[in-house]
Symmetry: C2
Subunit: 200 residues, 2 copies
């Protein structure tokens, strides 16, 4: 079988992580989400804590990076600021795990980083607002009001990180080969939809 690189962008609370895991299990290939941090730490020599603090998060000195010029996750990107160091280490971790063979990678602009790789399937998982609120309440043990705040903040954070490090818009359908709402038929059916799409 040819190599398969499934990248999964996901709205916060959509269950994208769980769906990505199940897709990887069904295909018997590795799955990377937070796991990428360990790879990035090992390969860059930067600490896990340092990388975690910049994981998919834009920070105040983004403005500085902007002024400094090139900030897309491309070969030859600069690594002068702390954000750039972290982003560069993440980019190299994505390339490194893909180098080993088929895998599922959640978030971290992997769809953009691997954009020229044959076998790439770019997936985005969304869900209805209410379903996301319920999921975050249940999963994180928070009130509805807290869940709403968390979802807004996390989506904004992920979008900022993605839009900054790519020349694309995070939630734009045109960036993906397949977008599926996990609340339409439920997460398990979303897994099947993704598997069917990758098979064909």
């Amino acid at each position: 079988m040819a190599e398969l690189y499934i990248t999964i962008g996901r709205q916060f609370g959509s269950g994208g992580r769980e769906i990505g895991k199940k897709v990887a299990e069904a295909l018997g290939i590795p799955y990377y989400d937070k796991e990428l941090l360990a790879v990035a730490a090992k390969e860059s020599g930067l600490s896990h804590e340092f990388l975690q603090s910049y994981d998919e998060k834009p920070t105040n000195s983004f403005l500085y990076s902007l002024v400094m010029g090139q900030h897309h996750l491309t070969p030859g990107m600069p690594g002068n600021t702390v954000e750039q160091m972290a982003a560069k280490a993440q980019r190299e971790a994505v390339l490194s795990v893909a180098e080993k063979g088929s895998c599922v990678i959640v978030g971290r602009c992997a769809d953009y980083i691997l954009r020229d790789k044959p076998g790439l399937v770019r997936v985005f998982v969304s869900a209805d607002w209410d379903a996301r609120v319920q999921r975050v309440c249940r999963r994180d043990g928070v009130t509805e009001k807290e869940a709403v705040e968390k979802i807004r903040k996390m989506d904004k954070t992920r979008a900022s990180y993605y839009n900054f490090h790519t020349d694309r818009k995070w939630d734009s359908a045109e960036n993906y080969d397949l977008c599926v709402s996990s609340s339409f038929h439920g997460p398990d059916r979303a897994v099947e939809v993704i598997l069917d799409f990758c098979k064909a």
Copy 2:
């Protein structure tokens, strides 16, 4: 079988129209694209030419409509300006064809207009930039340069119309239950992906 209302938003040159038609044929249900204009003309008493000139197009007096207030396609929307009259007639045509039973509707904010209807499946069809340019060249007999201009203009026009008449963003994955790239596996496989999704 329960009623099924499949709405298809589409990037210009993605083949969304052709895909919508094949989905409708496979399910044996009516298909509405430009056909909605005839329904709108018949039911509103407005001329077909008048409606066509405002079909999914924002115009200069949008600013006026904005100032005048409410412009979403909801019950009780005003119908004072020519754009409002045209949009209102389109909205009523969408509701009227859905009233008759299962159907496929391409564009015209049908996903928003029918948002509370059980059996609604909101689909968006995209395609890679190059595939869209090729398709438009072939279909419309234009040069690559002309195709690029046409695609940019038409996408912008559709997005403006949609964003203005709804509280949503046209190309945002979160508005749809399923988004599929027609250039990934080709249009025929996109039809199958949509049919499978609607079946489940």
